[in-house]
């Protein structure tokens, strides 16, 4: 908890620029505060609900969070480039349905082949999005609003209203969600959850350390500056969409194994869930800022609330959406407040002779990413 203490010290030292070196990066603050909120939520629910902290509850959350977590990470890859992918729900549907269809007609299919089909389908659909956005220069929100409808309507006419049933699937697919990888102190870590955590960590390291990842942030931070600096922006944006599609395809496979019974409307609405998780996780929809770990934690927080609220006797199930909406709003407002505080400190660090609380009024979103290019004032309201 030493970092939390340092945050407190930073806040305390506010107004005395230059005294404490700012080494706690804002994304770490976001992640830590999210973790804090998750812990508080768990404690509060622990008070309200009898027998709350049980192995079964842990399993329920970790199994159900896997799908939204993968999608939140996928969405984040696209959002940091200042784009958005509204078609992920449809990609999940197509991938789950077609993989299910294949698996039920070829019961001897091996896990590797089934997963490869799901990921391959997602990659293909993501590539279509990416080509239209990056090379056709059609804004991402328009492209993916269109492909959301196109992919789904193709699936509906292809499926002809038939349902993939769990009975027809190979047993390993249906059993996958209950498979345990290893146990820690009485808590079973499911294979699915472990895989998702590995994906998140690997991609997070890639985004942080690899040139590819840094470039995605650079594009989202200021597309024109990135292009003028010679970055292959089109190829990178295409790459982000392909990666997002591939992850969504994988999420489709998880969807198949979790629910077993797949209809043609499978995954509908997941696009908004993925954006919501990313946003709660501190990812800025204006691009250039936000981490995959944050998006993952956002998905966890939403899922914990989702799974816990139904167990609180005082709260009816009908409150779920209202609370979720309020949570998203609270998260983004808190984000702005925290961001402002840190930006002030940074500007004080950078320019020791400036007064600390001079420039709180203006809200340049791009200034949230001080490590990257200079704030692009004009572009702020311009792009979504």
């Amino acid at each position: 908890m030493s970092s939390a203490v340092d945050i407190a010290r930073l806040d305390g030292a506010h107004g005395r620029p230059g005294r404490t070196a700012v080494w706690v990066r804002p994304e770490r603050v976001k992640e830590l505060s999210l973790l804090g909120v998750i812990l508080v939520a768990l404690l509060v629910f622990g008070f309200l609900v009898d027998d709350y902290f049980s192995g079964r509850f842990f399993n329920r959350v970790t199994t159900s969070v896997a799908i939204t977590a993968v999608l939140a990470v996928a969405q984040t890859l696209v959002i940091v480039t200042r784009n958005i992918d509204l078609s992920v729900g449809s990609i999940v549907g197509v991938s789950a349905y077609l993989t299910g269809q294949f698996a039920s007609s070829n019961p001897s299919v091996s896990p590797a082949v089934a997963i490869a089909i799901a990921v391959g389908l997602g990659t293909l659909l993501g590539a279509i999005n990416g080509v239209i956005v990056a090379y056709g220069r059609v804004p991402a929100i328009i492209t993916t609003l269109g492909t959301l409808a196109i992919y789904r309507s193709w699936l509906i006419s292809h499926g002809e209203g038939k349902t993939i049933t769990a009975d027809s699937l190979p047993s390993w697919v249906v059993d996958l969600p209950t498979r345990t990888a290893f146990s820690v102190g009485g808590l079973d870590i499911r294979v699915v959850f472990a895989v998702v955590v590995v994906i998140v960590v690997v991609l997070q390291v890639a985004m942080q350390r690899l040139r590819w990842g840094r470039r995605l942030y650079a594009i989202g931070s200021n597309p024109e500056a990135a292009a003028q600096a010679g970055l292959p922006t089109r190829r990178l944006v295409l790459g982000a969409f392909v990666a997002c599609g591939a992850l969504s395809g994988f999420a489709g496979f998880l969807f198949l194994s979790r629910f077993g019974n797949i209809t043609v409307v499978a995954g509908q609405g997941l696009e908004l869930d993925s954006v919501a998780a990313a946003v709660v996780g501190g990812v800025s929809v204006l691009g250039g800022s936000g981490t995959l770990v944050g998006a993952f934690l956002g998905a966890v927080l939403i899922d914990v609330l989702d799974q816990s609220l139904v167990r609180v006797p005082q709260v009816s199930e009908f409150w779920r959406n209202a609370i979720l909406g309020a949570l998203i709003l609270a998260a983004v407002i808190a984000d702005v407040v925290i961001g402002r505080r840190f930006r002030r400190r940074w500007s004080a660090e950078a320019r020791p002779h400036t007064k600390v609380d001079g420039s709180a009024g203006d809200e340049s979103e791009a200034a949230r990413v001080p490590a990257l290019t200079a704030p692009e004032q004009a572009g702020r309201t311009g792009d979504r």
């Binding site: 269109g146 492909t147 909406g325 309201t381 311009g382």
Partner: protein, 343 residues
């Protein structure tokens, strides 16, 4: 990403005309393109069915989507302003549920309508306040609104369905009001005319465009950006409320899940109308044409026995292809000369 187009980038050599002129040419040619598509659709449909050109058929086209169409008018303002309102469908349901809940608890029906509209307007106001005061992207704020106001509707009605509204209210939704047109269609036409005048002929309308083009420039030019945004979001909420009340009148009963997913259809209509998702350009005429295209296309595809969900796919494809076509046209040297000549 080269999505910001000419407006933000440095003028390329050989592009003398001012950005505004290019924008005007672009808008006009877009409307022309839409008009051609519309005429093509209508001609094709007319050959498919003899009753197609009847006035009644045209009215019926609108009747079934009138709520979306009404909201699209308000959405046009919001998107030209450089923002977006994803919450409209939820606010529609919220208003309808407030109406139903008030009616159920014995409030006089006229008053219940007023309460419902006030609730919807405040929903828009709150979101507008957050957007205008904190500078958080409206995509996020109204995404929260999309989820939150649907939640508020659920809290009010839970899983019940409430009907048994007064007879005059049902007539308002279904009966002919003026000639063959129901009240909602008349209201839509009035909104279109009034909206067109406000957007294209008043200083408020100009401010909407200026802010959409560049909010910072607008701010430094002394425009009260926050106030314009607040007005637009409140209006968007109010219009969504009106649409929700009319939806309740047409359906005759209300559930918390009415209108789910409408926001995407509404936004599709506006964007197909040539309104830039980045704000600052687009016309209400274009949106009106796009609305006619979407309705006629669905009708025509229906006549050709294409299922409803395939129709949705076709409209999605039309949305992408229309922007793609415009981008490709922009690159043709011939067209570039034309732009210069006209400007």
């Amino acid at each position: 990403m080269e999505t910001t187009r000419e407006r933000a980038g440095p003028e390329r050599p050989g592009r003398r005309p001012r950005a505004g002129d290019i924008e005007a040419v672009r808008e006009r040619s877009w409307e022309l393109l839409l008009a051609v598509i519309l005429v093509g659709t209508i001609v094709y449909n007319a050959t498919q069915s003899p009753v197609y050109l009847d006035v009644d058929n045209f009215v019926n086209l609108f009747r079934l989507s009138i709520e979306k169409v009404i909201v699209a008018v308000a959405m046009t303002f919001v998107i030209i302003n450089g923002e977006i309102d994803l919450s409209v469908a939820s606010v529609m349901a919220f208003a309808a549920c407030v109406l139903a809940a008030a009616h159920e608890s014995g409030v006089p029906f006229g008053l219940a309508i007023v309460i419902a509209l006030a609730a919807a307007a405040s929903a828009g106001f709150v979101q507008g306040l957050v957007v205008a005061k904190t500078g958080i992207s409206s995509l996020v704020v109204t995404l929260a609104g999309l989820i939150g106001f649907r939640g508020a509707a659920r809290i009010l009605l839970e899983d019940r369905s409430i009907g048994e509204f007064p007879e005059w209210f049902g007539d308002l939704g279904r009966a002919d009001f003026l000639g063959p047109m129901p009240f909602a269609l008349v209201l839509f036409l009035v909104m279109l005319v009034v909206g067109g005048i406000v957007l294209h002929r008043t200083s408020f309308g100009r401010r909407v465009y200026v802010i959409g083009n560049n909010a910072d420039v607008a701010r430094f030019s002394g425009i009260d950006v926050a106030r314009v945004k607040l007005t637009l979001f409140t209006m968007s909420g109010l219009v969504a409320g009106v649409a929700g009340v009319l939806f309740a009148a047409r359906l005759g009963s209300v559930r918390a899940n009415i209108g789910e997913g409408f926001e995407l259809d509404i936004i599709t209509m506006v964007l197909l109308g040539g309104v830039s998702i980045f704000g600052g350009s687009g016309t209400l005429l274009g949106v009106a044409l796009a609305i006619c295209i979407v309705l006629n296309l669905r009708n025509g595809l229906g006549l050709a026995n294409v299922e409803a969900n395939t129709q949705t796919g076709v409209i999605g494809a039309l949305l992408i292809v229309s922007v793609l076509a415009q981008n490709l046209l922009d690159r043709l040297p011939l067209r570039r000369r034309e732009v210069e000549a006209e400007a």
